[in-house]
């Protein structure tokens, strides 16, 4: 329970709460509201050997795999859907053995997080048995239900070391407001040992209450204001998904691991000492276009 009056800190201070070897739950999902700036900082900070867990992910997990900082993936999906298809870095890392692919399923993950949230050693679940996930996850156990005689699967509690989220607004105390689909962010914040948050804008508590509070302050360890912190993923209604940037990203990944390092990670991660440097590299005019998605939404995808 985090009760400091003022949770604000710099991006590097925020990321200093994360350690090599940690189990990391990344907020957002697919092309939406990924804490990308914090992930770039994590890579720059040399943190590695991470276990990542989550449901539907894309560039976030793929970039971490491409940077070589992931040891185990417990995600249920990592890909670019029908936009760009396979997550190339993720796939390469799994196939080479660099990343151990311990795939999970969405509801199994939900129930494991809930067990942690409720202080239970496990949650029962009807599904999963009969699939190959049982062999992949030897930590799952089964029991005969004393009420029905049914065989149930018991999935153990999962408490990530760190939940890393990107929110729209926060107050100094760490109360958060997230707009649109919350994905698993609330579950992560409640289940994790620490919750680290980047936020588009810090506003007064009174203004935040007007919007509504999505996640109460006491789950939040530390907080960093970082406009465009989700770029190139979206943070509607503030800005749309940067499909062109993602296309470039995917193209670099496709050229091979070395090209991805040289042509994407070098310019957009390693060479950017700060988030401002990154935004400058992306360019103000591009950012302005993304903010003005409502003028011609279809154009974002052309």
């Amino acid at each position: 329970m985090y009760t400091a009056t003022d949770k604000r800190c710099t991006l590097s201070e925020l990321i200093s709460h994360l350690k090599t070897g940690d189990c990391l739950a990344i907020g957002g999902g697919l092309s939406c509201r990924e804490p990308m700036a914090a992930l770039r900082e994590l890579i720059r900070a040399g943190i590695s050997d991470l276990t990542v867990i989550g449901s539907a992910h894309g560039i976030d997990v793929d970039m971490l795999c491409g940077a070589g900082v992931v040891a185990i993936s417990g995600e249920s999906y990592v890909g670019f859907e029908h936009d760009f298809g396979m997550a190339i870095n993720f796939r390469r890392a799994c196939e080479s053995g660099q990343v151990q692919a311990r795939d999970n399923c969405c509801y199994t993950l939900v129930q494991q997080l809930r067990a942690a949230i409720m202080g239970l050693p496990f949650m029962p679940i009807r599904s999963v048995q009969g699939t190959s996930f049982m062999a992949l996850h030897s930590e799952y156990k089964t029991m005969i239900c004393p009420f029905t005689g049914d065989e149930l699967v018991l999935v153990p509690a999962l408490s990530p070391d760190v939940a890393l989220l990107h929110a729209h607004y926060a107050d100094n105390h760490g109360n958060l407001y997230i707009e649109g689909a919350p994905v698993a962010d609330m579950l992560f914040a409640k289940a994790a040992k620490k919750t680290l948050v980047t936020v588009e804008k810090i506003i007064s508590h009174a203004e935040l209450v007007q919007k509504g509070i999505t996640i109460p302050y006491f789950y939040v360890t530390a907080l960093c204001e970082l406009p465009f912190g989700a770029h190139p993923t979206s943070c509607y209604p503030l800005y749309a998904y940067d499909r062109k940037h993602t296309q470039h990203y995917h193209h670099c990944a496709k050229q091979g691991a070395a090209s991805f390092q040289a042509d994407y990670l070098q310019p957009f991660v390693y060479d950017c000492a700060s988030h401002d440097d990154y935004l400058a590299r992306v360019g103000a005019s591009r950012l302005s276009e993304l903010q003005n998605w409502q003028h011609d939404w279809l154009r974002c995808y052309e």
Partner: protein, 277 residues
Amino acid sequence: MNKCSIAEAMIYQLALTIEDGGLVFHGYGSPLVQIALHLAKRTHAPNIILVAGATYAVNPTPVFLTPTSNDAAMAIDAECTLDITELFDLAASGRMSRMFLSGLQIDGFGNLNVSRLGVDRLSLKLAGGGGGCNLSCDAQHLTLWTAAHRTEIDIQGKRRYRLVKHCDFITSVGHKTVDGKPRAAMPYQGKGANRLVTELAVFDFDEKGQARLIELYPDTDVEMVKTHTEFDFVVSSTLSVVPLPDAGMVAFMRSFDPLGVHRREFRESELKRFFDY
């Protein structure tokens, strides 16, 4: 005479598997299914509870079909919204009427693989199954589908089947588990797949839980389906040709997907198939 594409005909078959009144869900990365749900809601199934994957928006009116599912454009004008916990709880308590699942491998009992190829060692890592594993057990009914039933012959002269005898990994369950347990012996809420829709044919599942060919497209035949299917299947005695969408439906599908996202499910060669309606 008007023509619809194989993609549009197939989307219509998916839509026809939806009964009115229940909760129907599409996952992410499923443009055919996304269009099929919205088509059904606007035609024969106006009272479905249409839940969009990724945003968990209920009965939204998407601006256009985006190639990435978690885009606000897909959630516009939602009647209300759920979240990941509520949607999966509804399924787990037997209140999801139908879910749609696809896979890189589909066996004759409806087991699917979308996790990985390679039995002894990982030879191809796929994106993963999302919630399909759980929902294949929990949803009352499943529609299985693939737009890549037709096999190609590889350099060694071997066919790489989508409809296989055995999956390398079971991401989601069909009517019989790989160790031979029938679905009825499992504590699942759902009854499993009752349709498998491909770009070559439509199957139902017989009382033994095995895929049975029930419908062809105007340009396919039983032999062709057999050629491209590794598992053995029975042919229904009432084998027929699929119904085709009408002009209004086709117009809706085209306006809903101005970017043609759904076409990315198909090989270029398939998209040359058109049917008169």
